[in-house]
């Protein structure tokens, strides 16, 4: 980040090899080099960027532990710039998580374990992964950030919780398969994600970095469309196509303050009211007879 409060971000819209961690690590190194050359201070890779998405029974074989040589290799990617990447994490009690890792200055700064594991339609994540159990923000060199992995953002509460923690940016690594063909110019999924991401950015007055992968796995296509959205909901940068690309944007971090002065939605949030009402709903639900 330069002194004038600007942050250069890069989204690496890549096509990971399925179940080949070694090859993917090598490719991460290349993208990190390329992003560093552009002067970016933060580089975001897609969900499960180190392994590919439809792993099925490859999940245990693809996993790494937090205290391992593999993890130190990943941390070493972040000496020139901060790096967010996706990996399968095995806990000491042998549960496997679909995780997003934030590395800064050679260290692991934060881990988000995907909470909402889609298990419907073409998805089967709960068969292979354990769910995360928290949404937490964390301090980065560029302000407060929170991470949500793909399906996490389809649950309003996830981004809402992060926003009440005061995040300046939400980072969403994704492996979203394209589907829904109509006469529209874009796939149904691309339209939906653009709507959701822009809505979050505007409603929560936060930067929103959405990095989706590309390529094909077992016939499913990933549509890319990675985008950087400002706290007023405007798209700052987007790569519409489904090819590998480095999406670059420069954020004026003070835009968050300006937007929250113009639209003090966060100031006016009634957290206690929300908690009380949610507690009431929960009580009423649990007391209902079957």
């Amino acid at each position: 980040m330069s002194d004038n409060g600007r942050l250069s971000v890069a989204l690496a819209q890549i096509d990971p090899a399925l179940g080949d961690r070694g090859r993917n690590l090598e490719r991460h190194r290349q993208w990190v080099e390329q992003a560093a050359e552009t002067g970016a201070s933060l580089l975001v890779f897609p969900e499960l960027s180190l392994t590919g998405y439809f792993l099925k029974d490859l999940v245990p074989d693809s996993a790494i532990q937090l205290d391992s040589k593999e993890m130190r290799d990943l941390a070493a990617l972040s000496t020139k710039l901060d790096v967010v990447l996706g990996a399968v994490i095995e806990s000491p009690d042998h549960r496997y998580f679909n995780a997003s890792l934030y590395f800064s200055r050679g260290e692991l700064l934060h881990v988000h374990r995907k909470v909402y594991l889609p298990t419907y339609g073409m998805f089967d994540e709960q068969r292979y992964f354990a769910p995360g159990d928290r949404f937490r923000s964390f301090a980065t060199p560029f302000g407060r950030a929170g991470m949500l992995v793909c399906e996490d953002i389809w649950h309003l509460s996830s981004a809402y919780i992060l926003s009440l923690e005061g995040v300046d940016m939400i980072i969403c690594p994704s492996s979203s398969p394209g589907r829904g063909i109509t006469t529209d110019e874009r796939l149904g999924t691309a339209e939906s994600y653009a709507l959701v991401c822009r809505t979050y950015a505007q409603f929560l007055t936060t930067f929103f970095l959405y990095c989706n992968r590309v390529g094909f796995e077992d016939g499913a296509n990933f549509w890319g469309g990675s985008m950087v959205i400002g706290p007023n909901g405007d798209i700052i940068a987007q790569h519409q196509d489904a090819d590998e690309a480095l999406v670059l944007a420069t954020l004026d971090l003070a835009d968050v303050r300006r937007e929250r002065l113009a639209n003090p939605l966060l100031r006016d949030e009634r957290l206690e009211l929300t908690i009380n009402e949610l507690r009431r709903v929960w009580h009423e639900r649990t007391r209902k007879p079957y």
Binding site: A17, L18, F54, L58, T182, T183, E185, R186, A242
Partner: protein, 284 residues
């Protein structure tokens, strides 16, 4: 019989597609799924119908004309128009082709089973063409690219291990009426898009006569049934005839086996495809 109005009648709106978007995805699919398993080439059985013609066009765009080989495999009863339409596609695309009259090898077998009815004879031809495609795939180091559309796959209107056999299938998630739209957009000759769909396994065979319904009606019903999960009651309220609903639902259900690998008797703790589940693109 009148030709199906594949291009002249309006498309059922929920099945209307943006052909450029679909074309981009399918060309990308062919490139990706062929090359990442170490191949550059594909072979396909080109019947001269709209499905295989569309696949030839998509494969040529994806891999280049030198990497696509069309197999034209007529039987003596095949409609000569099928052959000439296939040759027109070959000429237009500039792709390689191999023509083999399968009559001697089919008749050699049929002489042994003179009682075989049309269905058995048709299946035999479809499977003979499959064995040639797979032999050519080894000879030419190419993948067999499939040409079954979603309507056929759902209705089971195809020969298992015959025309349904392939390594990759770019059009298996497109209904027939969507195949027409895409074929027209990518430049398949209009005469091919507009001719009456036929498996051409015997003279005068017509898909729509054999199925008993028009593709555009079948696709509408399948849209509500498969894509939207309408119940039988809801389908009736939507205005579909009860006998039509019953027949289509029966076909979808009874042909499920054709869309699956053979059933394996479970014995061990990890049975293939039941609890031994790996992606096909494992390590690719």
């Amino acid at each position: 019989m009148s030709a199906p109005a594949s291009l002249t009648e309006p498309v059922f709106p929920p099945l209307a597609i943006n052909p450029e978007l679909v074309r981009g995805i399918l060309v990308g699919f062919i490139k990706n799924e062929v090359r990442k398993v170490g191949f550059e080439r594909v072979v396909l059985n080109l019947s001269g119908g709209v499905d295989s013609s569309l696949v030839a066009f998509l494969a040529t765009e994806a891999l280049g004309k030198d990497n696509v080989k069309a197999l034209i495999l007529p039987y003596k009863d095949s409609d000569p128009k099928s052959r000439s339409d296939a040759l027109e596609v070959v000429a237009q695309l500039g792709i390689r082709h191999l023509e083999i009259d399968i009559t001697p090898q089919i008749d050699a077998y049929l002489a042994r089973v003179p009682e075989a009815d049309q269905v058995r004879r048709g299946n035999k031809m479809a499977r003979e063409r499959m064995t040639i495609a797979y032999d050519q795939s080894v000879a030419w180091r190419a993948l067999v690219i499939g040409t079954s559309n979603k309507t056929e796959l759902l209705l089971g209107y195809g020969t298992i291990y015959g025309d349904m056999a392939s390594a990759i299938n770019p059009i298996g998630d497109l209904y027939k009426t969507q195949v027409w739209q895409l074929a027209d957009a990518v430049g398949v000759p209009t005469a091919i898009v507009q001719k009456a769909p036929s498996a051409d396994l015997w003279t005068g065979q017509s898909d729509e006569t054999e199925l008993g319904f028009q593709y555009r009606m079948i696709d509408q019903l399948l849209y509500y049934l498969v894509e939207r999960r309408y119940t039988e009651e809801e389908l009736k309220r939507q205005g579909f005839d009860e006998a039509f609903i019953t027949e289509i639902m029966r076909r979808v259900r009874e042909n499920q086996y054709k869309r699956r690998l053979p059933v394996i008797a479970k014995l061990s703790s990890r049975t293939i495809d039941r609890d031994f589940r790996y992606p096909r693109d494992w390590g690719r």
